[in-house]
């Protein structure tokens, strides 16, 4: 295994296939996808609904396994791992940003940011220090003890970004990160993501909005479970 921080590619997928059986029909959500994403790159995955971009994101996010094909994340073959090992990979190497923010409502901003650290077993005092750093990085130092419901959508997404950064991931996956935000806020969030990318974070974002995709240096357009075009 040639994994680790020295690996050139954050993501390397080869001939990725995902097949669902619906009734007596076989549906190929992914039909042989191959791609390579270098560290530090910012990619947008685009495509119409049903093109397979969500399935792609789920597999890249280690929430799902491909039916066949290989997926190397930072040099590790994760395509055949079991649930517990995939959980571990998500915990250590991945950060998620969702369309609907997905913060835990009963936890404070600080606790939400530190949640991955909690599962990593980092002790409470250290987690709080990290959460404060990250909150100030996304501009929310004054809201540490607020509940998510007390924040605006843009602020919630900032918390989610801070949470995605808390475990210093190899890859950040963003699923329509501006889908629930107005255009002004969308620009703020995208600027923040771009800034993170400039600081060296590898980001893969799924979106169907061309102007949002503009923020990414690379675009992968999917169609019918295949890569239609890369630009």
């Amino acid at each position: 295994m040639s994994g680790g921080r020295n690996c050139e590619h954050a993501v390397e997928v080869k001939d990725l296939r995902k097949t669902y059986i619906v009734g007596d029909q076989q549906v190929n959500a992914l039909d042989g996808v191959s791609a390579q994403i270098r560290k530090g790159e910012f990619w947008a995955i685009m495509g119409a609904s049903g093109s397979g971009k969500s399935t792609m994101l789920n597999i890249l996010g280690c929430l799902d396994r491909p039916t066949s094909g290989s997926y190397f994340l930072d040099g590790r073959d994760v395509s055949k791992m079991d649930d517990a090992n995939l959980s571990d990979i998500r915990l250590k190497y991945l950060g998620f940003i969702f369309q609907s923010f997905n913060l835990i409502p009963q936890l404070t901003v600080a606790e939400n940011i530190a949640l991955p650290l909690y599962y990593q077993g980092v002790d409470e005092d250290e987690s709080i220090v990290r959460a404060k750093e990250l909150a100030s990085m996304v501009g929310l130092s004054m809201r540490l003890d607020h509940k998510p419901t007390q924040l605006s959508g843009g602020q919630q997404q900032r918390v989610a970004i801070a949470r995605a950064l808390s475990n210093d991931p190899v890859l950040i996956l963003a699923d329509e990160p501006t889908g629930n935000l107005d255009s002004a806020t969308s620009i703020e969030i995208m600027s923040l993501l771009s800034e993170m990318n400039k600081r060296g974070k590898t980001i893969v974002m799924v979106t169907h909005e061309p102007d949002i995709a503009e923020y990414a240096a690379h675009r992968l357009v999917m169609k019918d479970g295949r890569v239609d075009r890369i630009s």
Partner: protein, 423 residues
């Protein structure tokens, strides 16, 4: 240490989640609170009642057999028409025969009871007199408040001495200095030699042998002074009775021999008594009966407790399943972030456990409070045993684990992708 802090944080999180839905958490716990509370309360009341019965029976003496004279049924009806003397009951011969022929008997005490007018100083009143031997005080052990009790020598010499019971002394308005003074019983003078305490409680269906006694005198003396014939006026007719002994109390050498000895006494008495003019009380039999009752009570209680705790547990499971559904999205988020299945199981199990332990502890509070109120209002004794507290807390925890594990497993088995999409 890392584990300990995770447990601590999980408990904190659990409490927080429960506080988020205060009313729901409280209602969920209620089943367990009442279950545990009623178990402890019922055990305490049962324990108190049976302990009271047992201690009263023990006071009667578990190795004792009490044989009492009774007027045969046919004599009773005859006595209404004819003025005649009825002769019945235990005889001095019975006393002698029982004590001499049955080897398992350690002590035999004859008892003669009567009522005589008494005079002490300027006071006149009827006193209940018991004529007995010095052995009475071995079998019915009571505190001697003042002076001394009847001795063997008093019995042998037919001494005119009397021992007052505390309520006998109270009736005469006599203080402790009554010892040494003279009282007159039915015209005969007696020297008061002591005062003893009495047991006033009754033991279930049986009375303590000294419940109705004001004064003890040597049995030989009563026979000398008053003979065996008693007359009293009842409903206008003069009833005369000849009863030699009103009671014989027997002490057996060993609890194992009590039943056999009772049978032997019955056989021995039935030869000379054609009519059933006596009856026997065996405290040990009552003791056994009380124990059996206690066991039955425990089984019934255990069943009720089991059912109520089961209901409480199902209530908890029901709510936890609802909670899992309600928090599907949260589970999805946690899983996406990297929580393993066991983390989710642990989180929900801790929450159920917190719920059931708080319920259990509240239930214990209730279980302590109810018996206290019962004792306060009814005067019934109650005993909360440590074992019932430990048992109920243990059951609460078990209920929490047993009924929490299924919802927790359900939560952990959710597919994170589907869970994240849950609205």
């Amino acid at each position: 240490m890392a584990h300990l802090s995770i447990i601590k944080r999980n408990i904190k999180l659990g409490v927080k989640n429960l506080l988020l839905h205060k009313l729901r958490s409280m209602l969920t716990m209620l089943g367990l609170v009442f279950g545990v509370g009623s178990v402890i309360a019922m055990l305490a009341i049962g324990e108190g009642a049976s302990e009271e019965a047992l201690s009263q029976i023990r006071k009667l003496g578990s190795r004792n057999i009490i044989i009492s004279s009774q007027k045969p049924a046919e004599e009773n009806s005859l006595a209404n028409n004819n003025v005649r003397m009825s002769v019945y009951g235990l005889l001095y011969d019975d006393y002698r025969r029982i004590s001499e022929t049955i080897p398992t008997i350690l002590k035999t005490v004859p008892v003669k009871s009567m009522q005589k007018p008494c005079r002490y100083g300027k006071r006149h009143m009827d006193l209940r007199i018991v004529g007995t031997t010095e052995k009475w005080f071995d079998l019915v052990q009571r505190n001697v408040i003042a002076g001394r009790i009847i001795s063997r020598k008093d019995v042998d010499e037919m001494a005119s001495v009397a021992v007052l019971t505390d309520h006998g002394a109270r009736k005469l308005l006599a203080a402790q200095n009554v010892v040494g003074s003279t009282i007159r019983l039915g015209g005969n003078a007696y020297e008061v030699i002591g005062i003893v305490q009495t047991e006033s409680e009754s033991a279930g269906t049986m009375q303590m042998p000294d419940t109705d006694v004001d004064v003890y005198v040597p049995i030989s003396t009563t026979r000398l002074h008053y003979g065996d014939i008693f007359s009293q006026r009842k409903q206008g007719s003069d009833i005369r009775e000849q009863v030699e002994l009103h009671r014989i109390i027997v002490e057996v050498d060993n609890e194992r021999n009590v039943k056999r000895t009772a049978a032997a006494i019955d056989r021995s008495l039935s030869i000379s008594h054609k009519k059933q003019d006596y009856y026997m009380d065996v405290p040990l039999a009552l003791l056994r009966q009380a124990r059996a009752t206690k066991r039955t009570f425990s089984i019934v209680l255990g069943t009720i407790a089991g059912i109520s705790l089961l209901v409480g547990g199902i209530g908890i499971m029901n709510i936890m399943l609802a909670t899992v559904t309600e928090r599907t999205r949260e589970i999805g988020i946690r899983r996406a972030i990297g929580a393993k299945r066991r983390h989710i199981v642990f989180q929900f199990l801790i929450e159920t456990l917190v719920l059931s332990i708080i319920g259990g502890v509240t239930g214990i509070g209730m279980g302590l409070f109810i018996p206290w109120v019962v004792t306060l209002t009814t005067g019934m004794p109650t005993i909360v045993t440590a074992y019932s507290l430990i048992l109920s807390l243990g059951i609460s925890v078990s209920v929490g684990i047993i009924f929490g594990i299924y919802p927790a497993m359900r939560a952990s088995e959710l597919d994170p992708i589907i869970a994240l999409r849950h609205e």
